[in-house]
């Protein structure tokens, strides 16, 4: 409902309530009363008084990333170190734009993967373990300790050009290319990147029309698994 429609509805409801009050008074005078239309607030002042007239708060809100760090909990320390190294390698700071580490990308991906389905979780866990194992096999060190040249030797053979919705299917190439895409997306979509872009006088990037849930079903049982049919179809 538009705000002005909402206001109209409230005003109409108030008028109806006043009318009902007058009716109740006359009914009381006639010797019978109606129950109140709804629960009465325990106090002399209606709880919602004044909200219709209030002006929107001119509050410039922050996105938490601007002042806080994401607490990591999904990847273990060696996996976190490997992911950080991968982020630094694939998306370094360039031309004044923040790199993946500046944008908090490893920490964000820790969160994102932690709430993802099993398939991407497994891909990351196995992919990071594979990077460490390859780094040990070739350079006798953790992936997180490799130089740019050493890390490039591990990654480059698996880089592919690919099209949307069709990433490589071979496991190592799939991990390298999907992780690269995730790292790039998380970095380019960060507030740090946006601020740099605006500082350069460019139009704000990544701005679009966001849809809130439309008339959401608040009665819905969240994450209820699909229920089996326990009665024949048709009318109850």
């Amino acid at each position: 409902m538009r705000r002005r429609d909402f206001v109209k509805a409230i005003v109409a409801a108030s008028a109806a309530a006043r009318s009902l009050g007058a009716e109740q008074s006359s009914q009381a005078a006639a010797g019978h009363t109606l129950p109140p239309a709804g629960p009465v607030a325990p106090g002399p002042v209606p709880w919602m008084r004044g909200l219709m007239e209030v002006k929107p708060l001119e509050l410039s809100t922050l996105v938490a990333d601007a002042v806080a760090e994401t607490e990591v909990h999904f990847f273990n320390p060696s996996q976190t170190a490997a992911l950080g190294r991968l982020c630094a390698l694939l998306m370094p700071p360039l031309n004044g734009y923040p790199g993946a580490l500046d944008a908090g990308t490893p920490e964000f991906l820790d969160f994102l993967i932690s709430v993802s389905p099993e398939e991407p979780q497994q891909m990351y866990l196995e992919g990071l373990a594979w990077l460490d194992s390859e780094a040990h096999r070739m350079f006798f060190m953790d992936f997180s300790k490799t130089s740019d040249i050493q890390a490039d030797a591990l990654i480059r053979p698996w880089l592919r050009a690919w099209m949307n919705d069709h990433p490589p299917t071979e496991p190592h190439a799939r991990f390298v290319n999907l992780a690269h895409h995730d790292i790039r997306t998380a970095t380019v979509n960060s507030q740090a990147w946006s601020e740099r872009s605006q500082a350069e006088g460019q139009l704000a990037t990544g701005v679009d029309l966001y849809w809130y849930p439309v008339d959401p079903d608040v009665h819905r049982a969240i994450d209820r698994p699909p229920r089996p049919i326990d009665r024949p179809p048709g009318r109850r």
Partner: protein, 523 residues
């Protein structure tokens, strides 16, 4: 308690339901429209936001909408939630069922590509011996197409090709850009026509039921509508065999309700209309209800770069624009390993390249992206999927939706005909691009999963024989004469064309027939 019997009950508010409502109310018939979801209002339900302020920084919320490849974090709340609206399929044969339940349905969000079917589709069996002809031909639908094209303000160019029928267009006489002209020339040398795309301009960019159809119906004062009600089943009068009642659930409160109607028009979207009939146990004396599910192949294609446009050298007039290569296979000659055909969408881009098109990272990637900026050119397939009895939907044995309505089980797969067609499309597009002097950066031969095109069609196919079809040529049930299905479920074959114009033309034609039948007292 209401004792009202509505004249015509329309289930669904998208393009087909909107067209039925417009035609019927303009002919003096009162309609009640039920829609499973709410009315969206952009000024109330949206806000312009930077991507960094979204909960998942522009990534889709993990685990949500796994089959809606088209969704992103900005628009995720507009698609039907798969947890509320589940469906089942064999894990080895996934199906992307993409739905919108907002008032206006999928007419709110579509690509605007606006094509007529040709007699290569309507009379496909007569042409190549496979499948079935429609009970109608292009000539039966041509005048309706013209009226629809006028309402939707379709821009296009008359090309005089039998497989790409001309229409009532807002003339597009714009010149080709340089890159597109090179593809036109390359196609000419290969006997392949590159044509102007055809697109609904609508009004203010929107070409939806909610701005082009429903306002006309509402102006008559004869259309009422109830949002947020999910129809569970239809029932019939045992004495007459006519459908006379709809049973529905309030989406938010779960209150079960019913209402009576003289005529029911289903326009809930192909598979929802069929699901409703299957759950009702109606209109299936033929045994083909739910069968012959069709869609179109999408996803296979190529990404290129135009060398002369790199490093800021494009200037004006080289890049930009789109074009369409209408079907050219199996028209005058026969392809070796598939029947029917495909179209190609061509796009020339002035903007940034997709970094996924380069096997590079870091500074090397950034250098490439900067150099290739404004030089992108791509081609993608829209291919016909053959109608097969075995591609079908049925009621899932074990799963219900959030309103305890049995869900749909979808069984469909592509065969060599579709895979060979996709391969031919990619190879042909690559050959054209190379002939035009473009660099092909990457190509993909694999179609997206069935359903991805959002062009699910069939499952209530029309035909002259009640033993082999669900509907007659007027979209009217063979079994129940006061029951009509006016959405894409009526299709006999799908062709390569975006089906929206055909759905609209069929709905218009069916609604006029229905109005005439009501006026004559036959319904």
């Amino acid at each position: 308690m209401s004792e009202e019997t509505v004249d015509v009950l329309i289930v669904g508010s998208g393009h087909s339901g909107g067209m039925a409502a417009k035609i019927l109310t303009e002919k003096g018939i009162s309609c009640l429209m039920l829609n499973a979801g709410p009315v969206a209002e952009v000024h109330k339900d949206t806000e312009v936001k930077p991507v960094y302020a979204l909960p998942f920084r522009g990534f889709k919320q993990p685990g949500i909408l796994p089959h809606v490849f088209q969704s992103n974090e900005f628009n995720a709340n507009t698609w039907a939630d798969e947890k509320e609206n589940p469906y089942t399929y064999d894990a080895a044969r996934p199906y992307n069922w993409v739905r919108v339940r907002l008032f206006g349905g999928r007419s709110l969000f579509w690509s605007r590509q606006s094509f007529r079917l040709s007699d290569y589709e309507f009379k496909a069996r007569s042409h190549d011996g496979y499948g079935d002809d429609w009970p109608i031909a292009l000539a039966d639908l041509a005048s309706y197409y013209s009226r629809v094209e006028e309402i939707f303000r379709v821009s296009g160019h008359a090309d005089g090709l039998g497989q790409y029928p001309d229409g009532n267009f807002v003339a597009d006489n714009s010149p080709w850009t340089g890159s597109m002209q090179r593809m036109v020339d390359a196609g000419k040398g290969m006997g392949i026509a590159v044509c102007k795309a055809r697109s609904s301009m609508g009004v203010d960019g929107l070409a939806s039921s909610v701005n082009l159809l429903l306002p006309d119906a509402l102006r008559t004062g004869r259309l009422r509508a109830i949002p947020n009600v999910v129809v569970r089943a239809l029932s019939v009068d045992r004495n007459t065999g006519l459908v006379n009642e709809a049973h529905f659930v309030d989406r938010l409160s779960r209150r079960e309700m019913s209402l009576k109607a003289r005529v029911v028009v289903l326009a809930a979207g192909t598979l929802e209309s069929t699901r409703l009939l299957l759950n009702s146990g109606l209109a299936n004396s033929s045994g083909v209800l739910g069968h012959y599910l069709i869609d179109q192949i999408y996803g296979a294609g190529i990404a290129c770069s135009v060398p002369e446009a790199r490093d800021g050298r494009a200037g004006s007039g080289l890049m930009g624009g789109s074009a369409l290569v209408p079907r050219f296979r199996n028209i005058a000659t026969k392809a070796g390993d598939f029947i029917r055909g495909y179209a190609l969408n061509l796009y020339s881009s002035n903007g940034a390249m997709d970094p996924r098109h380069f096997a590079a990272y870091g500074s090397e990637l950034e250098t490439r992206l900067a150099s290739y900026y404004g030089s992108g050119f791509s081609a993608g397939i829209m291919g016909e999927v053959l109608a097969r009895f075995e591609n079908h939907v049925s009621i899932a044995k074990t799963v219900v939706d959030a309103w305890d309505i049995p869900a749909l089980h979808i069984e469909t797969r592509y065969t060599d005909n579709e895979f060979n067609m996709a391969r031919d499309a990619v190879d042909t597009a690559s050959a054209m691009a190379e002939e035009a002097g473009f660099d092909v950066l990457t190509k993909n031969y694999d179609p997206n999963p069935p359903g991805y095109s959002i062009h699910e069609l069939g499952t209530c196919r029309m035909g002259d024989d009640p033993k082999t079809s669900v509907l007659n040529k007027w979209n009217q049930s063979h079994d129940i004469k006061n029951l009509f299905v006016v959405d894409g479920a009526a299709f006999v074959s799908g062709g390569w064309q975006n089906p929206t114009m055909t759905i609209l033309a069929l709905a218009m034609r069916s609604a006029e027939y229905l109005a005439d039948q009501m006026r004559m007292g036959n319904l």
